[in-house]
């Protein structure tokens, strides 16, 4: 029994570790994609806005699981193959990026027009205005909703078990399905729930910290 408990903890720990790095890596991808989408959303060039809209609408209206399946099963069929975890990062990152983009866009829209006019009036180009004045303020104004997206991403990352990435939920499933019935069902379930809870509590702690530090603005 004790040996089994140790095995279980080791398996869940493994899974938790995978969940964390998959989440962080895909979040980084999502931030980059989101920033690009937000810039396209406010671009003076209509095709950039159309493309950003098309991207956003697509990912907002399709289940994440479908995105993962298309990547994992579809792409190899057209000759693009990669490891499972790559598809996991790409799927989670591109999907979450659409939401980050929308959030950032609302952040940009909340910045008073005078900020952009002042930026232009000292000779900053469109890109410089965005990167030096508008985006830094927009990021600060959406720390809380971005934190919510990160929390959702932690939970969404459970779906990559469907394409065989051994994250936390996948490990739990494996333990529960163990045909020799060695593991206590409730210990596994409670272990998994507590793991997710702790991760997300840590995230909200840091989000609140970041919010406090950004509050002097305005």
């Amino acid at each position: 029994m004790f040996d089994n408990f140790d095995l279980m903890v080791a398996a869940l720990w493994d899974g938790l570790f995978t969940t964390i790095w998959v989440t962080l890596a895909s979040f980084a991808i999502a931030l980059v994609i989101g920033a690009i989408l937000a810039v396209m959303h406010v671009s003076p060039a209509p095709p950039a806005r159309w493309a950003a809209n098309a991207y956003t609408q697509t990912f907002r209206n399709v289940p994440l699981l479908a995105v993962l399946f298309i990547l994992f099963f579809g792409f190899p069929k057209i000759g693009i193959s990669a490891e499972n975890w790559v598809w996991a990062l790409v799927g989670l990152g591109t999907y979450t990026g659409a939401f980050v983009g929308e959030t950032l866009r609302s952040g940009i829209n909340s910045i008073p027009l005078g900020q952009a006019e002042a930026a232009r009036s000292i000779g900053l180009t469109f890109g410089q205005s965005l990167s030096s004045v508008i985006l830094p303020q927009a990021f600060r104004s959406v720390i809380a909703p971005i934190g919510t997206l990160l929390t959702a991403l932690v939970k969404n990352s459970a779906l990559v078990l469907a394409i065989g990435v051994p994250e936390l939920s996948a490990q739990a499933q494996r333990l529960i399905n163990d045909n020799r019935d060695r593991f206590d069902l409730w210990a596994v379930i409670i272990g998994v729930l507590i793991s997710y809870l702790i991760v997300n509590l840590i995230i909200s702690y840091f989000v609140r910290l970041a919010e406090k530090r950004a509050v002097f603005v305005r």
Partner: protein, 251 residues
């Protein structure tokens, strides 16, 4: 007075028209501003003063006519336009300091990003400018921590840091509490005295009288009267100007 030896004016506006939808906001505007000249734009609210200012650095586009700054036609957009704007300082009614940057960073952003100055050099100059507007002790404050008058003086320092050929002020004291108006006007008057070319929209008639070389009176999108301050205030020629002055001068 310089008809015999024409110099390139700092700003030359000719035949400019501007519409906002059906609203004819600027009507056949002709105006030149010479180097070191201080031109004060006066007129009732909605007469197009802000719009005219904003066309000079193309924050507002025009529908016809031409504008040159220092002899160069205004570029349509892109890098060339950004370069022109760097030479034209603008001070806004609501200051528009960059909210996420300290006072010092507000003043150095343009010199570093646009003029490609080193951080050290830009900061040295910024501190000198802050000293000049009486705010050397506020370098590491954020805009939200300053009074309106202090923010506006930082905004002026931010404009000056670009070594502009021309400074424009759009009602720089209209959003200020009365006791802060003079600290801003004093800085502007010093600038005028030192020969900065300035276009100033203001309701501060005392400032106009003291600092302006020329007063331009606008109404309904048109320039109705142009005169020296003394002539304009003591002997306005048009009924519109007389009417306007009778309203603003009787407190």
């Amino acid at each position: 007075m310089e008809e015999t030896q024409p110099k390139t004016p700092m700003v030359a506006i000719s035949g400019v028209n501007k519409y906002f939808g059906d609203l004819h906001a600027l009507r056949d505007i002709d105006l030149t501003v010479d180097e070191s000249e201080v031109v004060v734009l006066i007129g009732p609210s909605g007469s197009g003063k802000s719009t005219l200012c904003r066309t000079i650095n193309r924050l507002e586009t025009t529908d016809s006519g031409s504008i040159t700054v220092n002899g160069r036609p205004l570029p349509e957009e892109g890098r060339a336009l950004a370069e022109l704007r760097a030479d034209v300082g603008m001070v806004f009614q609501h200051f528009n300091l960059f909210a996420h940057l300290t006072v010092l960073e507000n003043v150095t952003l343009g010199p570093i990003k646009v003029r490609r100055q080193s951080k050290a050099k830009a900061e040295e100059r910024a501190r000198a400018l802050l000293d000049r507007v009486g705010l050397s002790d506020k370098a590491s404050s954020y805009p939200a921590q300053l009074s309106g008058g202090q923010q506006q003086r930082v905004a002026i320092a931010r404009g000056l840091a670009m070594d502009p050929k021309l400074m424009m002020f759009d009602e720089p004291t209209s959003a200020l509490d009365p006791e802060m108006i003079n600290e801003v006007l004093d800085v502007m008057q010093d600038l005028a005295r030192e020969g900065m070319t300035m276009v100033v929209v203001t309701h501060e008639m005392g400032f106009a009288r003291r600092a302006a070389n020329r007063v331009v009176f606008m109404a309904d999108g048109q320039i109705v009267e142009t005169a020296t301050p003394a002539d304009f205030f003591d002997n306005p020629q048009t009924e519109r100007a007389q009417d306007f002055l009778s309203k603003v001068m009787t407190h």
